[in-house]
Amino acid sequence: MTKPPPLSNCNAGIGLRFPHVAEIAATRPHLGFLEVHAENYMAETAALDRLLELRSDYPVSIHGVALSLGSAEELDRIHLDRLKDLIERVEPVLVSEHLAWSAIGGAYLNDLLPLPYTEESLEVFCRRVGDAQETLGRLLLIENPSSYLRFRHSTIPEAEFLTETARRTGCGILCDVNNIYVSAENFGFDPIAYLDALPGDVIGEIHLAGYHPAEDVGILIDDHGSRVAQPVWELYAQALRRFGAVPTLIEWDTNLPALEILLDEARHAQELADFHRYAEFA
């Protein structure tokens, strides 16, 4: 089996979505990496075969959405073993999951649900991250979620919760800049202060995506269904100043456009990262 190429200076990638696979395979666009949702490749589908072909030309990042690291219950060992198998086959450069939970009592609710940020949650979450890392034999990146509600009994600011998780478990952080912006708008906090509260040395990846405003309830919904919004690009520039140029992903999951639009967004992210590098050395 050929080894996948390492991440290079070109550090903008896109989420690999089924309708784009054939075009990417045929045209091999210049991209830093491809990211896939782990759960879409756990069955023996033709899509998995295509991914295994593409991995010899592109670094692959595996982004899990269903491990439910924040559940009060033990991890789903079957799911974790399937993730491990996939990692062994794909040999990804990055593996990430979420500061969230999705399943309880045997029901998977297909969403990244919010946790109360309490001491209890922090202990549970760190134990699960530690368990997962031990089984997988590698460190994870943990992504900050977007959210639409906060619990009254939360006592730990989210950025601190993540920072403390990284400190206790050794995991890295996937900083989703759009999620910070969405939650900051939804709850009225300062997104730059959030960025500043994250430890710069453990940021392993950045996510960028579009949101849409649900005007009837005055909430921003993180739907990954449009171009990255201007204020999110501005926050990304701030993140580059704070963390340096780390692998950056354009996520697009709903209302999927032509591949060219995703490539255009990735080029823009790359330009900002290159500009940042240039500015650092100038």
């Binding site: 759960e39 879409n40 756990m42 069955a43 023996e44 589908t45 033709a46 075969d49 959405v65 269903a66 491990l67 439910s68 559940s71 009060a72 219950e73 789903d76 079957i78 799911h79 399937r82 939970w101 999705s102 399943a103 309880i104 009592g105 045997g106 029901a107 998977y108 609710l109 297909n110 969403d111 649900l113 946790l115 109360p116 309490t118 001491e119 209890e120 949650s121 549970v124 639409y148 509600l149 906060r150 619990f151 009254r152 009994h153 939360s154 006592t155 730990i156 601190e160 403390e164 939804n186 709850f187 009225g188 649900a214 309830v217 005055g218 909430i219 919904i221």
Partner: protein
Amino acid sequence: MRKSWPISIDMPNLLELQMQLRRAVLGGDTAALAAAVRCDGLDPAARLRIYRNHAFATLGAVLERTFPVVCRLVDKHFFAYAAHEYLREHPPHSGCLVEYGADFADFLAGFEPCLDLPYLADVARFEWALNVAATVREAAPLPIEALAAVPPERAAGLALRLQPSVSYFASGWPIDRIWQANQQSEVPTVDLARGGARIEIRRAGDAVDWRRLDPGTFAFRTALAGGLVLAAAAATAAAEDPTFDVAAALDRVFGEGLAVGFYFVDQRCANLGSTKIG
């Protein structure tokens, strides 16, 4: 030194809170949880509805992708309603959603508003078998020459392992014709009176293949897939079709790459175990 934060009191612990949120998402019961949610300028129930709507919209879309013809037969709005009722009672167990919907057909069979479409549950069974075949890899086929190693005195206890992607499916309705008709933009009339179908569904390379089988072949292969020994499968086929030619049928099973292994079942304790050699 370990950091510490203020401790909160009189609030649900994590497990209680997650069970309450599960009930809010699946059942719409937000009363218990609302007290634990900050207003932040919007009613907690409205905040919880965002999560509930997301779960039903996305999981409904998963079912629609797996059961497109069922959706077309009942129309999108009714499908969304049926999917909603199904989801409440049968949420997925894992995030590998291509595997969600195994018992949707059984649910439809008992779902009263669908009872005037008696073939609907079988269409769902057919679409589920297509989905399974698309998610299971073909194993290396076994050449028929491998059977030469079987000592004659053990032949009676021989059973075959078939391709893991294959399934056999019989319906009193012409499910395959209904399915095919609904691939077209103008659905042609399907004559339901023309009777049922016996169908084999399997993975073929990247694609999924299905076809009708004659009654003898269908009985033979269904019996083999169910783990019956060769002799018993042959007897089942002969009961369907007295002219059934077992040797030719076995040749076809191997010729089509369906057999992937064989093993022996001890006839005296067939239910207790087997010796696997192939």
